[in-house]
Each structure stands twice: as C-alpha cells, then as structure tokens.
Symmetry: C2
Subunit: 223 residues, 2 copies
C-alpha cells in the first residue's frame, strides 16, 4: 500500500476503497476516477482494464491481511497458548475489518462461477501464505507437533484446522443472517466478541483432551 502521491498510487488507493465498499461488479470506474480526482480514461491508461486494476487491489489486500493475522502468533510455546493467541488475533482482526470480509465473500462467491477463475482467489491466498511462511503450513504443523508431543489427543490436523478457522470466521461471514434470526445478537459488540473468544478456547481445548483428563496438571508441571 504505497503512500506516494503520484497519480498511479492515488488511483490504486481510490480503487481499493471503492472495491472494498461495492465489490468487483458493484464498483464503477467512474466512481474510482472521481475519488482519485482524475477521469476514467486515466484508469485505463495506467491499468489497461478494470480486471487488471482489480487484481492489483485484491493481491495487496490479501497479503496485508494474512500478515496482520499471523504476525503475532507464538510458534514455540504450549499448544493452549497458541490456541488462545490465534483465536484472539483472528477474531479481533475479523471484527476490525468487516469490509474485507464481505470482499473475500464476494470473491469466493464469484470464484464459483467461472471454472478457471475458481483458482484465482485460492491462488492469491496460497501465494500470500507461501510468501509469508515459505511452503509449510503453520496451522497443520503446530497441531501435528502438539499431537506428537502428547499435549493434545490425536486428532486429524486438517479437520481440526478447518474447524478452528470455521468457528472464528463464521459469525462474521453469516452476520447478516444471524443478526436477523437471533434478534438480540450484535456480532461486533465488545460483549459478544469477548464471550466468543472465551467460549471458543474452552470448547476447543476441552475437545482436544483425551478421555481421562488430568492432562492439564501434567502440562502445567512440565513447563
């Protein structure tokens, strides 16, 4: 996200704002031009087409988001600490960037239409992850190791990873639905977010305990 004030960057910033708010189809080149203080012709001069401009914007956004979520996660401590930190981080970041969520939602939704376009958003994520973590998958690895160390019961790392992502993301994705069906609910409120993090750590951590569960105290003593 460059901060210079040349025309190209002004357009890029304007495009980011407009795309975030209206989505790819909803965004109008006219609106982007106005917000950047130029006219439509210049957008094409710099970026050739709406599609190309869009690609630039989305790669920047995903890259930025992935860094923001993963950057402050501990890798070496106990698994429970990792779990707590990841949930807290992820939930907070999701709550803070609702526009980004609907944006990814639009992308995933439309990536279903075109067969080859399906790869697009996925590939953007994959490449951003590789750029950050270099090939290996942080979540899978962390769970795998915790299992091997006997910190948690043997679970399928892939399924648990998916479940972990699921319980964090879902409330924000389904917000328009949930807040109508459960009329008292306010997903973005402080109360809900705080309670959610606690409930999730509690639920998942217990879910990872073996049948006879005094594991907790053993671990406390270890470290």
């Amino acid at each position: 996200m460059p901060l210079r004030d040349n025309t190209e960057d002004r357009i890029l910033r304007a495009a980011t704002e407009v795309f975030l708010q209206h989505g790819k189809d909803g965004a109008r080149m006219q609106a982007i031009a106005e917000r950047a203080g130029v006219n439509k012709a210049l957008l094409h001069y710099y970026f050739r087409s709406k599609e190309k401009l869009y690609q630039r914007v989305i790669v920047n956004l995903v890259d930025h988001a992935i860094k923001a979520v993963l950057i402050s996660i501990p890798h070496d401590g106990r698994f429970r600490d990792f779990l707590t930190a990841f949930i807290s981080n992820y939930v907070d970041h999701l709550a803070a960037t609702p526009e980004l969520i609907r944006f990814v939602l639009w992308e995933v939704g439309s990536s279903w239409r075109d067969p080859e376009k399906a790869a697009t958003i996925g590939t953007i994520f994959k490449q951003a992850l590789e750029r950050y973590a270099g090939g290996r998958n942080l979540l899978l690895d962390t769970i795998q190791k915790a299992v091997e160390r006997g910190e948690i019961r043997p679970v399928d790392p892939l399924h648990f990873t998916i479940s972990l992502l699921a319980v964090c993301v879902y409330p924000f994705v389904a917000r328009p639905l949930l807040e109508v069906v459960f009329s008292e609910l306010d997903v973005l409120s402080e109360d809900f977010l705080k309670a959610r993090k606690q409930e999730l750590v509690e639920l998942l951590w217990r879910g990872l305990q073996p049948e006879a569960t005094n594991q907790l105290w053993v671990e406390e003593a270890q470290s």
Copy 2:
C-alpha cells in the same frame, strides 16, 4: 416447487435453474426465457420484473432447504444423539446441494451492499424457520434443555449454536479457498465427508463434557 406444465410454472422452474447456476446478477432474462421455451416479454408479463421473479425463486429455495435439514432431527432423545443426527443431516445436505450454497453465499454477500436489503435474506430465513418451528428456536432450546438436564456442561447456547453451524457449513463455503491451499483436499469426496462427521461429533461432544469426564458411562446406563 409446482409440477404443473403451464407457462408460469415453466418459467419459475427455468428461473430457479438459471439463478442457481449464475446468481442474481449473472442470470440473464434471455437465458431463462430460452430454457422455459418462451421469450423475454413473457417473463415480464407474468412477473413484472427480474427482481420480483428472483424473490419468488429464493423464498421457495430457502423454504425447501430448511425443511430438508430439520425434518429428520430427533427432539426428545439424548443430546449426543441429537448432535450426531444434526451434524450428519446438515453435512449431507450441504454436500448434496453445492449450487444452493453458492447461491446463499451470493445473497449474503450482496445483502451487505444495500442497507435495507441486508434484512432480505435474513428475513427470508427467519420466516422460513418460523413457518417450520413456530417461533421457538430448535437449536437453542435443545442445548438449553441438555444443560438443564445436566447432560452437558453449562455452555452459552447461542455461542455453541453458532459454532455448531460454523463447523458444518464452513468447509463447503470456503471450498474454493481450502482446496487450493490444501492441495490434497477434496471436500465433496466420500472419505472427507465421513471423516468430517466423525471428527466433529468427537470434538464437540468432548468439548461439552465437564472437567471430570465419566459422564459418558453414566448416561449409557441411564437409558
């Protein structure tokens, strides 16, 4: 979903197919007309506008889906049976209707744009649920009762409900992403679905156990 063969119903069926495949914006009135074996003018004759036609289709779809998922859920048995049945039902139904998922995804995504339209898809769900369950919320109630009966530890019913929906829905919603990031993954394969159901029941059920967990055997003996 009427089965008659008059023009109006033929249009409605054709519209359902086309909307499911292409979404609201992607669908072309021309395509609907062709599939119904009539011409564009007739669509407007019967339904006035694309928007009106679309509303008719979506209400039908949601109504149908909710019935399909909820109809074979036991209400009176033990909580673990309910959990198992719900997960199995829901996952199977989601796996069987991928078009419906992307459709709802589109709707939720676009419901974010217009402030007043936000209510639309939510309201459609709420009304469909009320039509089916008459005011009370099946999931919340079932969890609440299980807590009161001491079958599971005291959890917040709302949070657990959200988590339960989350872990079931997420893999299907995020499929385009997940299948690229985890390259071996095939969400719709028999293997994955079977494993997923088992992992989910296991994870959530353990997550609902109190600290000292011999609860299992007590219950087995009860029934």
